[in-house]
Symmetry: C3
Protein backbone atom coordinates (compact mmCIF):
# COMPACT_ATOMS: atom_id res chain seq x y z
CA UNK A 1 0.00 0.00 0.00
CA UNK A 2 1.41 3.42 -0.93
CA UNK A 3 2.52 5.60 1.95
CA UNK A 4 -0.23 8.18 1.60
CA UNK A 5 -3.07 5.64 1.58
CA UNK A 6 -1.45 3.93 4.52
CA UNK A 7 -1.71 7.15 6.44
CA UNK A 8 -5.30 7.90 5.43
CA UNK A 9 -6.74 4.44 6.00
CA UNK A 10 -6.93 3.29 9.61
CA UNK A 11 -4.70 0.39 10.63
CA UNK A 12 -7.52 -2.14 10.84
CA UNK A 13 -5.28 -4.91 12.05
CA UNK A 14 -4.71 -3.14 15.34
CA UNK A 15 -8.32 -3.97 16.26
CA UNK A 16 -7.34 -7.63 16.11
CA UNK A 17 -4.13 -7.00 18.07
CA UNK A 18 -6.03 -5.11 20.79
CA UNK A 19 -8.71 -7.81 21.02
CA UNK A 20 -6.05 -10.53 21.31
CA UNK A 21 -4.26 -8.61 24.07
CA UNK A 22 -7.56 -8.07 25.91
CA UNK A 23 -8.57 -11.75 25.68
CA UNK A 24 -5.13 -12.97 26.79
CA UNK A 25 -5.31 -10.57 29.72
CA UNK A 26 -8.65 -12.06 30.79
CA UNK A 27 -7.27 -15.58 30.47
CA UNK A 28 -4.25 -14.65 32.63
CA UNK A 29 -6.61 -13.19 35.26
CA UNK A 30 -8.72 -16.34 35.41
CA UNK A 31 -5.49 -18.35 35.82
CA UNK A 32 -4.61 -16.08 38.76
CA UNK A 33 -8.10 -16.69 40.23
CA UNK A 34 -7.64 -20.48 40.04
CA UNK A 35 -4.23 -20.07 41.72
CA UNK A 36 -5.78 -17.90 44.48
CA UNK A 37 -8.57 -20.39 45.19
CA UNK A 38 -6.32 -23.48 44.94
CA UNK A 39 -3.35 -22.18 46.96
CA UNK A 40 -5.08 -19.92 49.45
CA UNK A 41 -1.95 -18.13 50.71
CA UNK A 42 -0.63 -14.57 50.18
CA UNK A 43 -4.25 -13.63 49.55
CA UNK A 44 -3.86 -9.81 49.51
CA UNK A 45 -0.99 -9.98 46.97
CA UNK A 46 -2.90 -12.38 44.70
CA UNK A 47 -6.07 -10.25 44.87
CA UNK A 48 -3.93 -7.20 43.99
CA UNK A 49 -2.47 -9.04 41.00
CA UNK A 50 -5.97 -9.74 39.62
CA UNK A 51 -6.92 -6.08 40.19
CA UNK A 52 -3.89 -5.10 38.06
CA UNK A 53 -5.20 -7.27 35.19
CA UNK A 54 -8.54 -5.52 35.56
CA UNK A 55 -6.98 -2.05 35.27
CA UNK A 56 -5.05 -3.23 32.20
CA UNK A 57 -8.28 -4.53 30.61
CA UNK A 58 -10.04 -1.21 31.31
CA UNK A 59 -7.26 0.59 29.42
CA UNK A 60 -7.40 -1.86 26.52
CA UNK A 61 -11.22 -1.63 26.30
CA UNK A 62 -10.99 2.16 26.36
CA UNK A 63 -8.38 2.07 23.58
CA UNK A 64 -10.66 -0.19 21.53
CA UNK A 65 -13.74 2.03 21.96
CA UNK A 66 -11.76 5.20 21.16
CA UNK A 67 -10.30 3.61 18.03
CA UNK A 68 -13.78 2.39 17.07
CA UNK A 69 -15.29 5.85 17.36
CA UNK A 70 -12.50 7.42 15.32
CA UNK A 71 -12.28 4.79 12.56
CA UNK A 72 -14.04 5.22 9.28
CA UNK A 73 -13.50 1.61 8.24
CA UNK A 74 -13.64 -1.26 10.74
CA UNK A 75 -12.77 -4.94 10.21
CA UNK A 76 -16.30 -5.97 11.26
CA UNK A 77 -19.58 -4.34 12.39
CA UNK A 78 -19.09 -1.38 14.76
CA UNK A 79 -21.77 -2.76 17.05
CA UNK A 80 -20.11 -6.20 17.15
CA UNK A 81 -16.75 -4.59 18.03
CA UNK A 82 -18.44 -2.70 20.85
CA UNK A 83 -20.32 -5.78 22.11
CA UNK A 84 -17.23 -7.98 21.91
CA UNK A 85 -14.97 -5.60 23.85
CA UNK A 86 -17.52 -4.96 26.60
CA UNK A 87 -18.35 -8.70 26.93
CA UNK A 88 -14.64 -9.60 27.33
CA UNK A 89 -14.18 -6.72 29.80
CA UNK A 90 -17.22 -7.92 31.79
CA UNK A 91 -15.57 -11.34 32.29
CA UNK A 92 -12.60 -9.63 33.93
CA UNK A 93 -14.75 -7.36 36.11
CA UNK A 94 -16.43 -10.48 37.50
CA UNK A 95 -13.11 -12.28 38.07
CA UNK A 96 -11.97 -9.21 40.03
CA UNK A 97 -15.27 -9.11 41.95
CA UNK A 98 -14.86 -12.77 42.99
CA UNK A 99 -11.23 -12.23 44.07
CA UNK A 100 -11.90 -9.02 46.01
CA UNK A 101 -14.63 -10.75 48.04
CA UNK A 102 -11.95 -13.00 49.60
CA UNK A 103 -10.72 -9.88 51.46
CA UNK A 104 -14.06 -8.07 51.89
CA UNK A 105 -15.61 -11.16 53.49
CA UNK A 106 -12.49 -12.17 55.48
CA UNK A 107 -12.62 -15.64 53.90
CA UNK A 108 -10.25 -17.99 55.78
CA UNK A 109 -10.75 -21.14 53.75
CA UNK A 110 -12.22 -21.82 50.31
CA UNK A 111 -15.30 -24.05 50.18
CA UNK A 112 -14.84 -27.38 48.33
CA UNK A 113 -15.78 -27.21 44.65
CA UNK A 114 -15.26 -23.46 44.21
CA UNK A 115 -11.73 -23.87 42.79
CA UNK A 116 -13.18 -26.45 40.34
CA UNK A 117 -15.79 -23.90 39.25
CA UNK A 118 -12.97 -21.39 38.61
CA UNK A 119 -11.08 -24.10 36.64
CA UNK A 120 -14.12 -24.48 34.36
CA UNK A 121 -14.02 -20.71 33.85
CA UNK A 122 -10.29 -20.98 33.07
CA UNK A 123 -11.03 -23.63 30.41
CA UNK A 124 -13.63 -21.24 28.94
CA UNK A 125 -11.29 -18.21 28.88
CA UNK A 126 -8.66 -20.40 27.17
CA UNK A 127 -11.17 -21.04 24.37
CA UNK A 128 -12.11 -17.33 24.33
CA UNK A 129 -8.45 -16.35 23.86
CA UNK A 130 -8.02 -19.01 21.13
CA UNK A 131 -11.19 -17.85 19.31
CA UNK A 132 -10.18 -14.17 19.48
CA UNK A 133 -6.69 -15.01 18.15
CA UNK A 134 -8.45 -16.63 15.13
CA UNK A 135 -10.81 -13.67 14.53
CA UNK A 136 -8.72 -12.39 11.63
CA UNK A 137 -8.17 -15.75 9.86
CA UNK A 138 -11.43 -17.31 11.10
CA UNK A 139 -10.02 -20.85 11.07
CA UNK A 140 -12.05 -23.38 13.09
CA UNK A 141 -13.52 -20.46 15.02
CA UNK A 142 -16.98 -22.05 15.40
CA UNK A 143 -15.41 -25.07 17.13
CA UNK A 144 -14.09 -22.77 19.86
CA UNK A 145 -17.57 -21.25 20.25
CA UNK A 146 -19.19 -24.70 20.58
CA UNK A 147 -16.64 -25.61 23.25
CA UNK A 148 -17.31 -22.34 25.15
CA UNK A 149 -21.05 -23.14 25.15
CA UNK A 150 -20.32 -26.65 26.44
CA UNK A 151 -18.13 -25.25 29.24
CA UNK A 152 -20.79 -22.69 30.18
CA UNK A 153 -23.34 -25.50 30.54
CA UNK A 154 -20.85 -27.41 32.70
CA UNK A 155 -20.27 -24.29 34.81
CA UNK A 156 -24.03 -23.78 35.20
CA UNK A 157 -24.57 -27.37 36.39
CA UNK A 158 -21.60 -27.15 38.80
CA UNK A 159 -22.88 -23.81 40.15
CA UNK A 160 -26.33 -25.29 40.89
CA UNK A 161 -24.75 -28.30 42.60
CA UNK A 162 -22.48 -26.09 44.73
CA UNK A 163 -25.36 -23.83 45.80
CA UNK A 164 -27.56 -26.83 46.67
CA UNK A 165 -24.65 -28.24 48.74
CA UNK A 166 -24.09 -24.84 50.38
CA UNK A 167 -27.69 -24.75 51.63
CA UNK A 168 -27.51 -28.42 52.68
CA UNK A 169 -24.22 -28.21 54.57
CA UNK A 170 -23.81 -24.66 55.85
CA UNK A 171 -25.99 -23.67 58.79
CA UNK A 172 -24.70 -20.10 59.24
CA UNK A 173 -26.87 -17.79 57.08
CA UNK A 174 -24.08 -15.20 56.86
CA UNK A 175 -21.75 -17.80 55.31
CA UNK A 176 -24.57 -18.77 52.91
CA UNK A 177 -24.95 -15.13 51.80
CA UNK A 178 -21.19 -14.73 51.24
CA UNK A 179 -20.56 -18.00 49.36
CA UNK A 180 -23.78 -17.91 47.32
CA UNK A 181 -22.56 -14.56 45.94
CA UNK A 182 -18.99 -15.73 45.27
CA UNK A 183 -20.21 -18.87 43.45
CA UNK A 184 -22.74 -16.89 41.38
CA UNK A 185 -20.15 -14.26 40.43
CA UNK A 186 -17.79 -16.95 39.06
CA UNK A 187 -20.66 -18.63 37.15
CA UNK A 188 -21.74 -15.24 35.72
CA UNK A 189 -18.18 -14.81 34.40
CA UNK A 190 -18.60 -18.11 32.50
CA UNK A 191 -21.99 -16.80 31.25
CA UNK A 192 -20.22 -13.75 29.85
CA UNK A 193 -17.78 -16.04 28.01
CA UNK A 194 -20.86 -17.40 26.25
CA UNK A 195 -21.84 -13.82 25.30
CA UNK A 196 -18.34 -13.45 23.82
CA UNK A 197 -18.84 -16.70 21.84
CA UNK A 198 -22.22 -15.46 20.55
CA UNK A 199 -20.71 -12.24 19.19
CA UNK A 200 -17.82 -14.16 17.58
CA UNK A 201 -20.27 -16.65 16.04
CA UNK A 202 -22.36 -13.79 14.68
CA UNK A 203 -19.30 -12.03 13.19
CA UNK A 204 -18.11 -15.28 11.58
CA UNK A 205 -21.46 -16.29 10.07
CA UNK A 206 -22.13 -12.82 8.62
CA UNK A 207 -18.86 -12.85 6.69
CA UNK A 208 -19.09 -16.47 5.50
CA UNK B 1 -42.87 -15.58 -7.37
CA UNK B 2 -40.92 -17.46 -10.07
CA UNK B 3 -39.21 -20.63 -8.90
CA UNK B 4 -35.69 -19.29 -9.26
CA UNK B 5 -36.29 -16.13 -7.22
CA UNK B 6 -38.03 -18.24 -4.61
CA UNK B 7 -34.86 -20.23 -4.26
CA UNK B 8 -32.54 -17.23 -4.15
CA UNK B 9 -34.58 -15.13 -1.72
CA UNK B 10 -34.76 -16.41 1.84
CA UNK B 11 -38.15 -17.64 3.03
CA UNK B 12 -38.80 -14.60 5.21
CA UNK B 13 -42.03 -16.02 6.59
CA UNK B 14 -40.12 -18.70 8.48
CA UNK B 15 -38.84 -15.96 10.82
CA UNK B 16 -42.46 -15.37 11.85
CA UNK B 17 -43.11 -19.11 12.16
CA UNK B 18 -40.01 -19.59 14.36
CA UNK B 19 -40.93 -16.60 16.55
CA UNK B 20 -44.48 -17.91 16.99
CA UNK B 21 -43.19 -21.36 17.96
CA UNK B 22 -40.71 -19.81 20.42
CA UNK B 23 -43.36 -17.60 22.06
CA UNK B 24 -45.88 -20.45 22.33
CA UNK B 25 -43.17 -22.58 23.90
CA UNK B 26 -42.54 -19.89 26.56
CA UNK B 27 -46.27 -19.61 27.23
CA UNK B 28 -46.55 -23.40 27.66
CA UNK B 29 -43.61 -23.32 30.11
CA UNK B 30 -45.19 -20.59 32.23
CA UNK B 31 -48.39 -22.66 32.30
CA UNK B 32 -46.32 -25.58 33.58
CA UNK B 33 -44.81 -23.29 36.26
CA UNK B 34 -48.29 -22.24 37.47
CA UNK B 35 -49.27 -25.93 37.58
CA UNK B 36 -46.12 -26.79 39.56
CA UNK B 37 -46.70 -24.02 42.12
CA UNK B 38 -50.48 -24.62 42.41
CA UNK B 39 -50.44 -28.43 42.58
CA UNK B 40 -47.15 -29.04 44.36
CA UNK B 41 -46.94 -32.80 43.66
CA UNK B 42 -44.70 -34.85 41.31
CA UNK B 43 -42.25 -31.96 41.62
CA UNK B 44 -39.21 -33.61 39.90
CA UNK B 45 -41.29 -34.62 36.85
CA UNK B 46 -42.84 -31.14 36.54
CA UNK B 47 -39.44 -29.44 36.89
CA UNK B 48 -38.09 -31.79 34.19
CA UNK B 49 -41.00 -30.87 31.89
CA UNK B 50 -40.13 -27.16 32.20
CA UNK B 51 -36.44 -27.95 31.53
CA UNK B 52 -37.55 -29.69 28.28
CA UNK B 53 -39.31 -26.48 27.18
CA UNK B 54 -36.10 -24.58 27.91
CA UNK B 55 -34.00 -26.93 25.74
CA UNK B 56 -36.58 -26.57 22.95
CA UNK B 57 -36.40 -22.76 23.23
CA UNK B 58 -32.59 -22.86 23.07
CA UNK B 59 -32.83 -24.80 19.80
CA UNK B 60 -35.43 -22.40 18.36
CA UNK B 61 -33.39 -19.34 19.38
CA UNK B 62 -30.28 -20.86 17.83
CA UNK B 63 -32.23 -21.58 14.61
CA UNK B 64 -33.42 -17.96 14.55
CA UNK B 65 -29.94 -16.50 15.06
CA UNK B 66 -28.41 -18.81 12.42
CA UNK B 67 -31.13 -17.90 9.92
CA UNK B 68 -30.61 -14.22 10.76
CA UNK B 69 -26.88 -14.39 10.14
CA UNK B 70 -27.36 -16.18 6.82
CA UNK B 71 -30.24 -14.08 5.47
CA UNK B 72 -29.65 -11.21 3.12
CA UNK B 73 -33.19 -9.86 3.50
CA UNK B 74 -35.04 -9.97 6.84
CA UNK B 75 -38.70 -9.09 7.58
CA UNK B 76 -37.60 -6.43 10.08
CA UNK B 77 -34.37 -4.94 11.49
CA UNK B 78 -31.63 -7.52 12.14
CA UNK B 79 -31.01 -6.01 15.55
CA UNK B 80 -34.70 -6.17 16.47
CA UNK B 81 -34.84 -9.85 15.42
CA UNK B 82 -31.83 -10.53 17.63
CA UNK B 83 -33.24 -8.55 20.57
CA UNK B 84 -36.67 -10.16 20.25
CA UNK B 85 -35.39 -13.74 20.17
CA UNK B 86 -33.02 -13.27 23.11
CA UNK B 87 -35.69 -11.46 25.18
CA UNK B 88 -38.21 -14.29 24.62
CA UNK B 89 -35.52 -16.87 25.41
CA UNK B 90 -34.60 -14.98 28.61
CA UNK B 91 -38.20 -15.34 29.87
CA UNK B 92 -37.91 -19.12 29.58
CA UNK B 93 -34.48 -19.26 31.22
CA UNK B 94 -35.99 -17.49 34.24
CA UNK B 95 -39.04 -19.79 34.33
CA UNK B 96 -36.62 -22.74 34.36
CA UNK B 97 -34.50 -21.06 37.06
CA UNK B 98 -37.58 -20.61 39.29
CA UNK B 99 -38.72 -24.22 38.78
CA UNK B 100 -35.28 -25.76 39.34
CA UNK B 101 -34.97 -23.94 42.69
CA UNK B 102 -37.87 -26.05 44.03
CA UNK B 103 -35.49 -29.05 43.92
CA UNK B 104 -32.21 -27.21 44.67
CA UNK B 105 -33.72 -25.68 47.81
CA UNK B 106 -35.71 -28.77 48.85
CA UNK B 107 -38.89 -26.69 48.97
CA UNK B 108 -41.65 -28.65 50.73
CA UNK B 109 -44.49 -26.16 50.43
CA UNK B 110 -45.05 -23.08 48.28
CA UNK B 111 -45.45 -19.78 50.12
CA UNK B 112 -48.84 -18.05 49.74
CA UNK B 113 -48.98 -15.59 46.85
CA UNK B 114 -46.16 -17.11 44.80
CA UNK B 115 -48.55 -19.11 42.55
CA UNK B 116 -50.50 -15.85 42.00
CA UNK B 117 -47.27 -14.13 40.93
CA UNK B 118 -46.69 -16.96 38.42
CA UNK B 119 -50.31 -16.56 37.20
CA UNK B 120 -49.60 -12.89 36.44
CA UNK B 121 -46.56 -14.04 34.45
CA UNK B 122 -48.80 -16.56 32.64
CA UNK B 123 -51.20 -13.75 31.69
CA UNK B 124 -48.20 -11.78 30.36
CA UNK B 125 -46.82 -14.69 28.30
CA UNK B 126 -50.32 -15.21 26.83
CA UNK B 127 -50.19 -11.61 25.57
CA UNK B 128 -46.60 -12.14 24.34
CA UNK B 129 -47.69 -15.19 22.32
CA UNK B 130 -50.69 -13.26 20.92
CA UNK B 131 -48.51 -10.26 19.98
CA UNK B 132 -45.88 -12.43 18.32
CA UNK B 133 -48.59 -14.28 16.32
CA UNK B 134 -49.71 -10.85 15.02
CA UNK B 135 -46.15 -9.70 14.12
CA UNK B 136 -46.70 -10.42 10.42
CA UNK B 137 -50.18 -8.81 10.08
CA UNK B 138 -49.62 -6.24 12.86
CA UNK B 139 -53.33 -6.11 13.80
CA UNK B 140 -54.05 -4.60 17.21
CA UNK B 141 -50.44 -5.39 18.18
CA UNK B 142 -50.00 -2.25 20.31
CA UNK B 143 -52.96 -3.27 22.47
CA UNK B 144 -51.12 -6.45 23.41
CA UNK B 145 -48.04 -4.39 24.31
CA UNK B 146 -50.07 -2.04 26.53
CA UNK B 147 -51.56 -5.06 28.30
CA UNK B 148 -48.08 -6.60 28.83
CA UNK B 149 -46.90 -3.34 30.41
CA UNK B 150 -49.97 -3.31 32.68
CA UNK B 151 -49.31 -6.91 33.75
CA UNK B 152 -45.63 -6.14 34.42
CA UNK B 153 -46.65 -3.29 36.73
CA UNK B 154 -49.07 -5.65 38.49
CA UNK B 155 -46.29 -8.25 38.83
CA UNK B 156 -43.92 -5.61 40.22
CA UNK B 157 -46.43 -4.50 42.88
CA UNK B 158 -47.23 -8.10 43.82
CA UNK B 159 -43.50 -8.90 44.07
CA UNK B 160 -42.87 -5.98 46.44
CA UNK B 161 -45.86 -7.03 48.58
CA UNK B 162 -44.68 -10.66 48.73
CA UNK B 163 -41.13 -9.67 49.70
CA UNK B 164 -42.39 -7.27 52.40
CA UNK B 165 -44.60 -10.12 53.74
CA UNK B 166 -41.68 -12.54 53.56
CA UNK B 167 -39.56 -10.31 55.81
CA UNK B 168 -42.54 -9.68 58.12
CA UNK B 169 -43.60 -13.29 58.54
CA UNK B 170 -40.54 -15.49 58.05
CA UNK B 171 -38.04 -15.55 60.88
CA UNK B 172 -35.57 -18.05 59.37
CA UNK B 173 -32.97 -16.07 57.34
CA UNK B 174 -32.22 -19.12 55.17
CA UNK B 175 -35.89 -19.31 54.12
CA UNK B 176 -35.80 -15.55 53.42
CA UNK B 177 -32.76 -15.98 51.14
CA UNK B 178 -34.41 -18.85 49.22
CA UNK B 179 -37.87 -17.29 48.76
CA UNK B 180 -36.61 -13.78 48.05
CA UNK B 181 -34.67 -15.25 45.13
CA UNK B 182 -37.58 -17.36 43.82
CA UNK B 183 -39.99 -14.39 43.96
CA UNK B 184 -37.48 -12.07 42.27
CA UNK B 185 -36.73 -14.61 39.52
CA UNK B 186 -40.46 -14.87 38.63
CA UNK B 187 -40.84 -11.06 38.65
CA UNK B 188 -37.74 -10.70 36.44
CA UNK B 189 -39.41 -13.07 33.94
CA UNK B 190 -42.36 -10.63 33.79
CA UNK B 191 -39.85 -7.78 33.36
CA UNK B 192 -38.40 -9.58 30.34
CA UNK B 193 -41.94 -9.85 28.88
CA UNK B 194 -41.93 -6.04 28.96
CA UNK B 195 -38.61 -6.06 27.05
CA UNK B 196 -40.34 -8.28 24.45
CA UNK B 197 -43.23 -5.77 24.26
CA UNK B 198 -40.78 -2.88 23.81
CA UNK B 199 -39.08 -4.55 20.83
CA UNK B 200 -42.47 -5.42 19.26
CA UNK B 201 -43.67 -1.83 19.79
CA UNK B 202 -40.50 -0.50 18.20
CA UNK B 203 -40.82 -2.85 15.18
CA UNK B 204 -44.48 -1.87 14.71
CA UNK B 205 -44.00 1.89 14.99
CA UNK B 206 -41.04 1.92 12.59
CA UNK B 207 -43.08 0.26 9.85
CA UNK B 208 -46.28 2.29 10.39
CA UNK C 1 -36.47 27.15 6.99
CA UNK C 2 -39.62 27.52 4.82
CA UNK C 3 -42.91 26.71 6.57
CA UNK C 4 -43.62 23.58 4.53
CA UNK C 5 -40.22 21.98 5.18
CA UNK C 6 -40.55 22.89 8.82
CA UNK C 7 -43.73 20.86 8.95
CA UNK C 8 -42.33 17.89 7.06
CA UNK C 9 -39.04 17.63 8.91
CA UNK C 10 -39.24 16.52 12.51
CA UNK C 11 -38.32 19.08 15.17
CA UNK C 12 -34.98 17.50 15.99
CA UNK C 13 -34.28 19.91 18.80
CA UNK C 14 -37.08 18.44 20.87
CA UNK C 15 -34.92 15.32 21.34
CA UNK C 16 -32.42 17.51 23.19
CA UNK C 17 -35.19 19.19 25.19
CA UNK C 18 -36.69 15.83 26.20
CA UNK C 19 -33.26 14.45 27.17
CA UNK C 20 -32.51 17.52 29.27
CA UNK C 21 -35.87 17.25 31.05
CA UNK C 22 -35.29 13.53 31.68
CA UNK C 23 -31.77 14.07 33.08
CA UNK C 24 -32.88 16.96 35.31
CA UNK C 25 -35.71 14.78 36.60
CA UNK C 26 -33.20 12.05 37.55
CA UNK C 27 -30.97 14.61 39.27
CA UNK C 28 -33.96 15.94 41.27
CA UNK C 29 -34.84 12.38 42.31
CA UNK C 30 -31.32 11.65 43.56
CA UNK C 31 -31.46 14.91 45.52
CA UNK C 32 -34.69 13.65 47.10
CA UNK C 33 -32.96 10.33 47.94
CA UNK C 34 -30.11 12.15 49.72
CA UNK C 35 -32.70 14.18 51.64
CA UNK C 36 -34.60 11.00 52.61
CA UNK C 37 -31.45 9.25 53.86
CA UNK C 38 -30.02 12.33 55.63
CA UNK C 39 -33.22 13.56 57.30
CA UNK C 40 -35.02 10.28 57.95
CA UNK C 41 -38.44 11.77 58.80
CA UNK C 42 -41.76 11.84 56.88
CA UNK C 43 -40.48 8.72 55.14
CA UNK C 44 -43.71 7.70 53.32
CA UNK C 45 -44.16 11.21 51.83
CA UNK C 46 -40.52 11.37 50.70
CA UNK C 47 -40.69 7.88 49.15
CA UNK C 48 -43.90 8.94 47.35
CA UNK C 49 -42.16 12.06 46.00
CA UNK C 50 -39.40 9.91 44.48
CA UNK C 51 -42.03 7.56 42.99
CA UNK C 52 -43.60 10.64 41.30
CA UNK C 53 -40.24 11.47 39.66
CA UNK C 54 -40.08 7.89 38.43
CA UNK C 55 -43.55 8.08 36.83
CA UNK C 56 -42.52 11.36 35.18
CA UNK C 57 -39.35 9.76 33.81
CA UNK C 58 -41.35 6.81 32.44
CA UNK C 59 -43.55 9.27 30.52
CA UNK C 60 -40.53 11.21 29.21
CA UNK C 61 -38.75 8.00 28.14
CA UNK C 62 -41.89 6.80 26.39
CA UNK C 63 -42.20 10.17 24.60
CA UNK C 64 -38.56 9.87 23.49
CA UNK C 65 -38.96 6.31 22.16
CA UNK C 66 -42.20 7.18 20.34
CA UNK C 67 -40.59 10.24 18.74
CA UNK C 68 -37.57 8.12 17.82
CA UNK C 69 -39.69 5.50 16.09
CA UNK C 70 -41.64 8.13 14.16
CA UNK C 71 -38.71 10.36 13.14
CA UNK C 72 -37.08 10.03 9.79
CA UNK C 73 -34.10 12.17 10.77
CA UNK C 74 -32.58 12.10 14.27
CA UNK C 75 -29.88 14.35 15.77
CA UNK C 76 -27.66 11.33 16.44
CA UNK C 77 -27.74 7.54 15.95
CA UNK C 78 -31.13 5.94 16.63
CA UNK C 79 -29.45 3.26 18.70
CA UNK C 80 -27.57 5.83 20.80
CA UNK C 81 -30.82 7.73 21.44
CA UNK C 82 -32.43 4.49 22.57
CA UNK C 83 -29.47 3.51 24.76
CA UNK C 84 -29.18 6.97 26.29
CA UNK C 85 -32.86 7.24 27.23
CA UNK C 86 -33.03 3.76 28.73
CA UNK C 87 -29.75 4.25 30.68
CA UNK C 88 -31.01 7.53 32.20
CA UNK C 89 -34.37 5.91 32.99
CA UNK C 90 -32.57 2.97 34.65
CA UNK C 91 -30.83 5.37 37.07
CA UNK C 92 -34.22 6.61 38.25
CA UNK C 93 -35.72 3.11 38.55
CA UNK C 94 -32.86 2.23 40.91
CA UNK C 95 -33.26 5.44 42.95
CA UNK C 96 -36.95 4.52 43.33
CA UNK C 97 -36.04 0.92 44.24
CA UNK C 98 -33.67 2.14 47.00
CA UNK C 99 -36.26 4.57 48.41
CA UNK C 100 -39.15 2.09 48.35
CA UNK C 101 -37.11 -0.44 50.35
CA UNK C 102 -37.16 1.99 53.32
CA UNK C 103 -40.89 1.18 53.63
CA UNK C 104 -40.83 -2.46 52.43
CA UNK C 105 -38.14 -3.32 54.98
CA UNK C 106 -39.55 -1.13 57.80
CA UNK C 107 -36.18 0.61 58.12
CA UNK C 108 -36.11 2.67 61.34
CA UNK C 109 -32.66 4.17 61.04
CA UNK C 110 -30.22 4.60 58.17
CA UNK C 111 -26.87 2.86 58.51
CA UNK C 112 -23.79 5.15 58.65
CA UNK C 113 -22.24 5.78 55.25
CA UNK C 114 -25.35 5.07 53.16
CA UNK C 115 -26.31 8.77 52.88
CA UNK C 116 -22.69 9.46 51.76
CA UNK C 117 -23.07 6.80 49.05
CA UNK C 118 -26.25 8.55 47.86
CA UNK C 119 -24.36 11.89 47.90
CA UNK C 120 -21.78 10.39 45.52
CA UNK C 121 -24.66 9.34 43.27
CA UNK C 122 -26.04 12.90 43.50
CA UNK C 123 -22.66 14.30 42.37
CA UNK C 124 -22.77 11.85 39.44
CA UNK C 125 -26.33 12.78 38.38
CA UNK C 126 -25.33 16.46 38.53
CA UNK C 127 -22.61 15.72 35.96
CA UNK C 128 -25.08 13.62 33.92
CA UNK C 129 -27.53 16.54 33.79
CA UNK C 130 -24.71 18.95 32.85
CA UNK C 131 -23.44 16.61 30.10
CA UNK C 132 -26.92 16.07 28.66
CA UNK C 133 -27.55 19.85 28.63
CA UNK C 134 -24.35 20.17 26.53
CA UNK C 135 -25.34 17.37 24.07
CA UNK C 136 -26.42 19.84 21.42
CA UNK C 137 -23.43 22.20 21.65
CA UNK C 138 -20.98 19.50 22.80
CA UNK C 139 -18.83 21.96 24.78
CA UNK C 140 -16.50 20.35 27.33
CA UNK C 141 -18.75 17.31 27.25
CA UNK C 142 -15.89 14.81 27.64
CA UNK C 143 -14.84 16.49 30.90
CA UNK C 144 -18.24 15.68 32.37
CA UNK C 145 -17.85 12.06 31.25
CA UNK C 146 -14.41 11.78 32.89
CA UNK C 147 -15.86 13.17 36.12
CA UNK C 148 -18.78 10.68 36.01
CA UNK C 149 -16.28 7.83 35.64
CA UNK C 150 -14.27 9.16 38.59
CA UNK C 151 -17.42 9.37 40.73
CA UNK C 152 -18.46 5.84 39.74
CA UNK C 153 -15.08 4.52 40.89
CA UNK C 154 -15.51 6.43 44.17
CA UNK C 155 -19.02 4.96 44.56
CA UNK C 156 -17.69 1.46 43.87
CA UNK C 157 -14.95 1.79 46.53
CA UNK C 158 -17.41 3.22 49.08
CA UNK C 159 -19.89 0.42 48.33
CA UNK C 160 -17.25 -2.27 48.96
CA UNK C 161 -16.22 -0.56 52.22
CA UNK C 162 -19.83 -0.30 53.41
CA UNK C 163 -20.56 -3.95 52.61
CA UNK C 164 -17.37 -5.11 54.37
CA UNK C 165 -18.39 -2.99 57.42
CA UNK C 166 -21.93 -4.38 57.27
CA UNK C 167 -20.63 -7.95 57.53
CA UNK C 168 -18.15 -6.93 60.25
CA UNK C 169 -20.59 -5.00 62.43
CA UNK C 170 -24.06 -6.42 61.88
CA UNK C 171 -24.76 -9.79 63.45
CA UNK C 172 -28.42 -10.16 62.35
CA UNK C 173 -28.44 -11.93 58.94
CA UNK C 174 -31.84 -10.40 58.07
CA UNK C 175 -30.38 -6.89 58.51
CA UNK C 176 -27.40 -7.96 56.35
CA UNK C 177 -29.74 -9.11 53.56
CA UNK C 178 -31.74 -5.85 53.65
CA UNK C 179 -28.80 -3.41 53.82
CA UNK C 180 -26.61 -5.31 51.36
CA UNK C 181 -29.40 -4.92 48.81
CA UNK C 182 -30.02 -1.21 49.53
CA UNK C 183 -26.29 -0.40 49.27
CA UNK C 184 -25.91 -2.40 46.03
CA UNK C 185 -28.99 -0.77 44.47
CA UNK C 186 -27.54 2.74 45.09
CA UNK C 187 -24.13 1.68 43.70
CA UNK C 188 -25.82 0.15 40.62
CA UNK C 189 -27.50 3.53 40.02
CA UNK C 190 -24.00 5.12 39.93
CA UNK C 191 -22.94 2.31 37.55
CA UNK C 192 -25.78 3.27 35.23
CA UNK C 193 -24.53 6.90 35.27
CA UNK C 194 -21.32 5.48 33.80
CA UNK C 195 -23.38 3.78 31.06
CA UNK C 196 -24.91 7.20 30.34
CA UNK C 197 -21.41 8.73 30.14
CA UNK C 198 -20.27 5.95 27.76
CA UNK C 199 -23.13 6.65 25.34
CA UNK C 200 -22.50 10.41 25.49
CA UNK C 201 -18.77 9.84 24.89
CA UNK C 202 -19.54 7.62 21.93
CA UNK C 203 -21.98 10.17 20.42
CA UNK C 204 -19.44 12.98 20.87
CA UNK C 205 -16.44 11.12 19.42
CA UNK C 206 -18.39 9.92 16.36
CA UNK C 207 -19.33 13.46 15.39
CA UNK C 208 -15.94 15.05 16.12
Amino acid sequence: MPGLLRKILPREDSFFALFTELAENVHAASGALVDLLTNFTDVPAKVERIKAYEHKADDLTHALITRLNQSFITPFDREDIHDLSTAIDDVLDLIDAAASRMLMYHVDRVRPGVAELASTLLAATEQVAAAVRMLEKRDHILNYCIEINRLENESDRLCRTLIAQLFDEEKDPVQIIKWKEIIEVIETAADKCEDVANVIESVTLKSS
